[in-house]
Amino acid sequence: MKIRKTKPEKLIPTTDGSGMKRRSFVRLLGGGLFVFFNSWTFPDLFGGTPEQGRSLPKDYNAFLRIAEDGTVTCYTGKIEMGQGIITSLAQMMADELNVQFEKVKMVLGDTDLCPWDQGTWGSLSTRSFGPNMRAAAAEARGVLFSLASDKLGVPVTQLEVKEGIITDTKNTSNSVSYAELTKGQKIEKYLDVKPAVEDFTKFTYVGKSYNHADAILKVTGEAKYTGDLKLPGMVFARILRPPSHGAKLKSVDYSAAEKITGIKVIRDGDLIAVLHEDRERADQAIVKIEAEYSFNEMPVNDKTIFEWMLKADSGSNEIRSGGNLETGIKLSEKIIESEFLDPYLAHTAIETHSALAHLDGDKMTVWASTQSPFGLQEAIAGELGFKLEKVRVITPFVGGGFGGKGAAQQGIEAARLAKLAGKPVMLIWTRDEEFFYDTFHPAGVIKIKSGMDKNGAIKLWDYAIYYGGTRGSETIYDVPNVKATHYRQNRNAPAVHPFGTGAWRAPNANSNTFAREVQIDIMAAEAGIDPLEFRLKNLKDEKMIACLKAVADKFGYVAGKIPGGRGIGIACGTDAGTWVAHMAEVKVDKSTGNVEVVRIVCAQDMGLCVNPEGATIQMEGCITMGLGYTFTEELLFEGGNIKNRSFDSYEIPHFSSLPKIETLILDRKDQAPQGGGEPAIIAVGAVIDNAIFDATGARLYRMPMTPERVLEALKKV
């Protein structure tokens, strides 16, 4: 093994993105071997739309430590919110370094201990962070071999390693452990070349199923989430909230709240909060505050929003083009135009946004339920006027994120209050606040004009997105004449969304896959061709074809024209570097409009699967969550007033929603691992829509597919 000699003082910048001098990591952590590593790759998350592309900063992304007792710790700014990276990243580390899986510890989302990270989203932890972590581990192993060679007096080529013990292959009694080698040493290396893809076949832990490493803590109630923490002198905060987005505070009277024993009212501009050591006293006090607001509401609601968007002063970007649309129209025997509607969605993680803030001297420490600890650190520092290194964000277990915990609001609020109160402040948003300040999945309209020749070959694909996002908008089918346009808010034009929007599990890929795969189904029906055959006929993408064939095989699909009265749907797509294909069977009650999903089968190609059990759980979770946006989830609002503020009026999937779910992961051990936390959710809406059509001949163009909308569609059959 070749060891590169490096001079860290030349290669390593003095600070990383956290604003902390790199040396101080070493001080913080004591002895051992350190490997710093960089994130070189950043997959194309946005379907090739350069205007939304981001680039990673060049500072260090994470590092690992081999402690004096031989345990290996990986420090990463990623966080654990149920997706299971605490397990899968440890598997990769164990294999690359060749230590027991049990010896690997993960430290996640602490801005003082972990180098800068962009945040945990986009199913990036395995596919983007993973390779770099493995490369670092490989280099650490190289350094350890070099040290062992000196210690054992034999060349590196004569050494092998197993479970953290390096042995002389010619004299097996001549061996040394990682722990012995690293004891008292401080060696640093910097990886300055892009790591090569390793051979996965040699791996012991990767590719095997592991249950959640944190399961015992979570079933015993010992796992600590932000709201479970307690500091001496800590008080709970409740904040006065406006009745609607856009409302402005005119006057306030909090004298009644102040009469409650132990209540302290804090006012800093528009931030008005009550503090008490008992959460419920704060709850009682906040409702005693009388406030008057002025309103300047947008004249739009959940019914008029789509028209509102289509009429808005929009800018547009051409996000994809190929061939010529006029040619496509000429070549088409049949042209189909459709319009698809998609509402605002809430994330509704069961843990509401929480933060505990504590100002100790001049340093603010904030524990928070966040998908972006470093983003939060920057936001708090900016808000308080603190230097970056004077703000530390620590991320305990996160009780679900789904894209909804990337914003910094609750962390900033807690930090401001802790600074003003001079006490540790715990802020746990109520469910009402959670629904009000969510960064909702944006509503949107998608228009498609597509055409095919007399053989059912697609010749035209004119695709337009209004106010949704572009992820998942790839045509995926082999179409010669294509255009895709993204209409969005014009610079300086008035806001179109009445409240904040953001990423929602596989952001917008759900909407785009819904529109595309329903349109494809409409075309298959028009062509009189079996919808699986129609797709296969128009696809060149080998992975998509393989997934479709695999899902049909597992489903036991028998070809037939649609609508065939069987209630079988099919849909497919790609997301986060992963390919998915779904089949579903539904029963539709034509008198009530109720749809019962009997079965959903999903085949997935995610490259090498690091933890098959973990990936399967993510697929099941995606499919289950997907049934929510498909059937029930829709934010209701009037201007800036959010009407559904809890689970009674915003219904997420329940146990009774559950069909039989079957999953299949295609074996791709020769290929790099891809994303697993999002892909299987993208085609759920489409597969159900297509199954409803097959069952009844009724076509729905709008999600969620409520019984009322199903009945309405049935009337048009």
Partner: protein, 158 residues
Amino acid sequence: MEKTVSFHLNGKLTEILIDPNLTLLWVLRNHFGLTGTKYGCGIGFCGSCTVLIDEEPVRSCTLALSEIEGKSVVTIEGLAKDGKLHPVQKAFVDHDALQCGFCTPGMIMNATGLLLKNPSPTTQEIKAGMEDNLCRCGAHMRIIDAVHTAAKEMKGGK
């Protein structure tokens, strides 16, 4: 307005001088440090605050402390005995019936209550009994399997 409330908490007779109108959820979390019982919605819709009261699963977020006078309260922290997981807890681990884990204590308490009443539930009965406990990660399928496994284990001599 403070009053002494006495009840059994995880098997131990407990007395606390407190405003009896406070809810069990926040008293458990803030006064007893039993933070396994979670706040999810505060109005009884999500089930993440579920505890057992006299073996019945109850939403602690809408229950005043005065209601538990003389009763027996079991929280997620009181299920494991002598370091050994309760069969329901063990089944959740074995089936990997959780993701973020935030709804998990409530799920386990509700499932335990369900099995105390109905030791051999059908899948339909499990779905009905667990219906109002919400999980956003989508662990439902595995939770159903875990409850079946726990049922078998509990009948096999607890």
